[in-house]
């Protein structure tokens, strides 16, 4: 099935693009639940199976409740060359998430290792709630996390 031709008929019927709809849901609720998708399915007239397919395809869409702050640490070669591997290990310990993709017991942090966040000139780098932090050392990372811990 060629989706490009298949989807011609649906154009203009929809006000908003699906990607942006899904992002708005996630921005508001922190993740995208089955319940929310059912609503999207009805509103947008898109089968729920297709919606699941889309949500599961994109790594930044979360389908489970997340920690209060999401940390995405970069695993690209540039970051690996600048002690990025040590940073990942440090973040794992410091946040207490246990494993990558996990959430800390206090529900404060969820940690992911991601492909490349385009901050190679400031390697090693991470995104915390979408904001870039570059030229990290373990001390700096500790300081940044400390601020979030303090805010609780």
């Amino acid at each position: 099935m060629n989706l490009r031709v298949d989807s011609m008929s649906g154009h203009h019927k929809k006000e908003k693009l699906l990607m942006n709809i899904l992002w708005e849901l996630q921005d508001r609720h922190g993740y995208i639940s089955e319940h929310m998708l059912k609503q999207v399915s009805v509103d947008q007239d898109i089968p729920i199976a297709r919606l699941w397919g889309v949500v599961k395809f994109y790594s930044m869409f979360r389908t489970e409740p997340q920690g209060k702050h999401t940390i995405e640490v970069c695993g690209s070669p540039s970051c690996v060359l600048n002690d990025g591997t040590a940073l990942v290990e440090f973040l794992k310990k410091e946040t207490g998430v246990g494993k990558l993709g996990g959430t800390s017991k206090d529900g404060l942090f969820t940690l992911y290792k991601v492909s490349c966040i385009g901050c190679c000139d400031g390697a090693p780098a991470m995104l915390v709630d979408g904001k870039a932090h570059t030229k990290l050392t373990t001390e700096r990372a500790k300081e940044i996390l400390g601020k979030f811990k303090g805010k609780r």
Binding site: N2, S115, G118, C120, D121
Partner: protein, 386 residues
């Protein structure tokens, strides 16, 4: 820097005065090529789109820069987004589009707010009846591939599609669509307005074991030695990588950086990202990082890429653990060549490059890990071996 020159809506004005056909001629004369990696003539792309029969056409700005080591589009969007937006409006004028999209990668979310304001401002000031909408990507590298990008904008999984039909004649919702890179659209506006615009200048993203990682503007054909001088490495360099797809190559200071020299064999030109690797590293570690990238980002459409990238990563980790035997290296090479040969899109076709090149040039690094692990174990229990 040439890329930072602002056109302040004068390029659009000039384009409107010249008319669509003259703009295409001018761009052809200026020699503008796509800056996303394929280096296709921009004028020809726009012309094909314009002449395809349709009641509606679209312009898409590909801001899904995801290649590890590449950050030049972020640089352009941070410092000269207005000119990029103007480039989109010029393209819309030339091909006759009313709706434009910017596909912004999810990792650059922090650029979005300001970009929205700039879009509003530029479109309002230009007075043209065109809408520009930002589509937010969500972490899929493969969506930088234009057929996958189009799928993603339409709300599907970002799987690359067979071509033909080409996006330029049958893209978004089956309509002719121009998909251009951030840098290309910015350059389009500049090439139209400035007579002294130089087509040979490229943005280089330089990173790795260097003290001055940054975006630099350098002419095509620049010697590797000059790049090294600018980047100021910490230690003696051992290897370089032109993004993940370029493989891991030995550093050759005499090499002139042109599309021909970057390409290992039939690979794409790439976006001129240079990752410099110094002697303190074992190349296998970098190969593992690149292999994890491919295994993570493979969209799963083609079996060789989906399964092969995972097996490549497994084998590389086996090498690092010191458990590999020489035959494993042969398997690695075969597997990498197979994935490259049998995948549909650029991601899969380059997913073995790092293995092929590193095995060819840095076999000693592999052997060091193999000896380290296997050698020691052999020493522990020599009798068992006999």
């Amino acid at each position: 820097m040439q890329i930072l020159r602002e056109t302040r809506l004068e390029a659009l004005e000039k384009a409107q005065k010249l008319g669509a056909d003259a703009v295409l001629e001018l761009l052809e004369k200026r020699g503008l090529e796509g800056r996303g990696g394929a280096a296709f003539s921009t004028a020809r792309k726009w012309k094909t789109c314009k002449s395809a029969p349709a009641d509606e056409r679209f312009v898409v700005c590909n801001a899904d820069e995801g290649e590890p080591g590449t950050f030049k589009d972020k640089f352009v969007m941070k410092h000269n987004a207005e000119t990029m937006i103007e480039g989109m409006l010029i393209c819309a004028y030339v091909i006759g589009a009313k709706r434009c999209y910017i596909y912004l990668r999810g990792e650059y979310e922090y650029l979005r707010k300001r970009l929205l304001e700039q879009i509003d401002d530029v479109v309002k000031r230009s007075g043209v009846d065109v809408t520009i909408e930002i589509v937010r990507g969500a972490g899929a590298y493969v969506c930088g591939e234009r057929t996958a990008l189009v799928q993603s904008i339409m709300g599907y999984r970002g799987n690359p599609q067979y071509s033909p039909p080409n996006i330029t004649t049958c893209g978004l919702w089956g309509k002719p669509t121009v998909v251009n890179n951030v840098e290309t659209l910015t350059c389009a506006a500049q090439a139209i307005l400035f007579d002294d615009w130089d087509p040979k200048i490229r943005l280089f993203s330089i990173s790795g074991n260097v003290t001055k990682p940054d975006v630099y503007e350098l002419p095509l054909g620049v010697k590797m030695s000059s790049i090294i001088d600018i980047a100021k490495p910490k230690n003696k360099l051992k290897a370089m990588s032109f993004g993940c797809f370029g493989g891991i190559m030995p550093v050759d200071p005499e090499m002139a950086v042109t599309p021909d020299t970057i390409c290992v064999e039939k690979c794409q030109h790439g976006a001129y990202s240079v990752i410099l690797i110094d002697e303190t590293n074992n190349v296998v570690d970098i190969a593992i990082s690149i292999a994890s990238f491919y295994a993570y980002e493979s969209c799963g459409k083609c079996t060789p890429c989906r399964e092969g990238t995972i097996r490549i990563l497994d084998l590389l980790k086996k090498v690092k653990r010191g458990e590999a035997v020489p035959k494993d290296l042969d398997t690695l090479r075969e597997l990498a060549a197979h994935v490259n040969d049998t995948s549909l899109c650029g991601l899969g076709q380059s997913a073995g490059n790092h293995v092929l090149t590193s095995l060819l040039h840095f076999r000693k690094d592999y052997e060091a890990y193999m000896k380290g692990g296997a050698g020691e174990r052999a020493g522990e229990n020599p009798q068992k071996r006999q």
